[in-house]
C-alpha cells in the first residue's frame, strides 16, 4: 500500500493512542468496563493495523514472531503461576486471599496479575493468527480489492 499516503499518515497517528487505550482498558478493568480479553484484542489491533498499512515485514521487525509466540505462552504461565503462588502461600489454587496481608488488597493484586496474563496471551495469540494468515502467499495487489 505504498501510494496510500492518507492511510499511512493516519495509521502513524492512530497506533500510539490505540496502544495507550489498550493499556488503559487493561489496568482500569476493575473500575470500568474492560479487562484482559478486550485489552489484549485492542493492543493486538494496533500491530495488525500497522501490518495492514505498512507491510508484514515492517510489523515483524517491531514485534518478531518468535517473541509473539513466547509471550502467548508467558501469559498462560503468569495466570497459572499466580495460582501456584497461592498454593505456596497456603491457600487454594487461584484463591488470592493469601497474597497480601489483608484479603481485599490481596484480591486486587490477584485480579491485576491474572488480567495481565489474560491480556498478554490474547494479544499475542491475535497477532500470531494475523501473522499466520497474512504470511501466506498469494498477496493481493491493491487493484484486486
Amino acid at each position: 500500500m505504498e501510494h496510500h499516503l492518507i492511510l499511512r499518515v493516519i495509521t502513524k497517528l492512530l497506533v500510539p493512542p490505540i496502544l495507550l487505550f489498550g493499556l488503559y482498558v487493561q489496568f482500569h478493568g476493575d473500575f470500568g468496563p474492560g479487562g484482559g480479553f478486550q485489552a489484549g484484542v485492542i493492543f493486538a489491533v494496533a500491530f495488525i493495523l500497522y501490518g495492514l498499512v505498512f507491510t508484514l515485514d515492517e510489523v515483524q521487525r517491531v514485534f518478531p514472531p518468535w517473541l509473539v509466540h513466547k509471550l502467548a505462552a508467558l501469559g498462560v504461565l503468569v495466570y497459572a503461576g499466580v495460582g501456584v503462588l497461592n498454593l505456596m502461600a497456603g491457600a487454594k489454587f487461584l484463591d488470592y486471599n493469601a497474597l497480601a496481608n489483608d484479603a481485599i488488597s490481596a484480591q486486587h493484586w490477584g485480579i491485576l496479575a491474572v488480567e495481565f496474563g489474560v491480556g498478554l496471551t490474547v494479544a499475542a495469540v491475535m497477532v500470531t493468527i494475523y501473522y499466520a494468515f497474512a504470511g501466506r502467499p498469494p498477496r493481493m495487489s491493491d487493484e484486486d480489492w
Binding site: Q38, Y79, Y131
Partner: protein, 186 residues
C-alpha cells in the same frame, strides 16, 4: 426514546443481514458483517451490557473482519452463483419460528422475576463490596470467583493460537529445514 433507538438498531440489523445475503461480492460481505457486529455492540450498550459490547466491537468488528479479509485474500473475491432454491428459505423460516416460539416462555425484558436477577446475582452483588471491593462486578466475578473458568478460557485461546501456528505458519520452518537437508543430500 430508548425504544426508538432500539427499534432503529434492530431495523438496521435486519437491513444489513439482508444485504449480506444478497451481495455476491465477498469484500462487501466482510465489511457488512463488521457493520453487523458494530450494530450488535450498540444494542448491547442499549441493554447496559458494556463489557459485552466492548468485546463485540473489538473482536467481532475488529479482529474477525481482518481475519476474514485475510482468508478472502487466500481464496476468491466473488461468491459462485448458485441455482435458486426454496429449501434454505424454508429452513430459516422454520428455525426462526421455533426460536420466536421459544421466547414466548421467557420472562419479559427487565422483569424482576427473571432467573438472571434471582439466582446467584443478588448473592454476588451482596458479597463483592465486602470481599473484593472492585466497582466492576463483571471483572470481580470473572477474575476472582470464577478464576478457574477464566484460566480455562485463556488456555483455549492459547491452544487456538497454537493450532493456527502449527497448521499455517509452522510449516515454513520445516520446509526450509527439509530443503536444507535435501541440498546437503544433493
Amino acid at each position: 426514546m430508548e425504544t426508538v433507538i432500539t427499534i432503529t438498531l434492530f431495523i438496521l440489523l435486519v437491513a444489513v443481514a439482508v444485504a449480506i445475503v444478497r451481495t455476491r461480492l465477498l469484500f462487501a460481505v466482510v465489511m457488512l458483517s463488521g457493520l453487523f457486529s458494530l450494530i450488535c455492540a450498540l444494542l448491547f450498550i442499549a441493554l447496559d451490557a458494556v463489557d459485552v459490547a466492548f468485546t463485540e466491537a473489538a473482536v467481532g468488528a475488529g479482529i474477525s473482519t481482518v481475519l476474514m479479509l485475510g482468508t478472502m485474500a487466500l481464496t476468491s473475491r466473488r461468491e459462485k452463483p448458485r441455482p435458486r432454491s426454496a429449501i434454505p428459505l424454508l429452513v430459516v423460516v422454520i428455525t426462526g419460528a421455533v426460536l420466536v416460539y421459544g421466547t414466548l416462555d421467557m420472562p419479559n425484558f427487565g422483569s424482576p422475576d427473571a432467573p438472571a436477577f434471582n439466582h446467584v446475582a443478588p448473592h454476588y452483588l451482596e458479597r463483592i463490596p465486602r470481599e473484593i471491593d472492585v466497582p466492576n462486578t463483571v471483572t470481580a466475578i470473572l477474575a476472582s470467583y470464577r478464576g478457574f473458568d477464566t484460566l480455562g478460557e485463556v488456555v483455549v485461546v492459547f491452544t487456538a493460537g497454537l493450532g493456527v501456528v502449527l497448521l499455517l505458519s509452522g510449516l515454513g520452518r520445516g520446509r526450509r529445514q527439509s530443503d536444507a537437508a535435501s541440498e546437503e543430500d544433493g
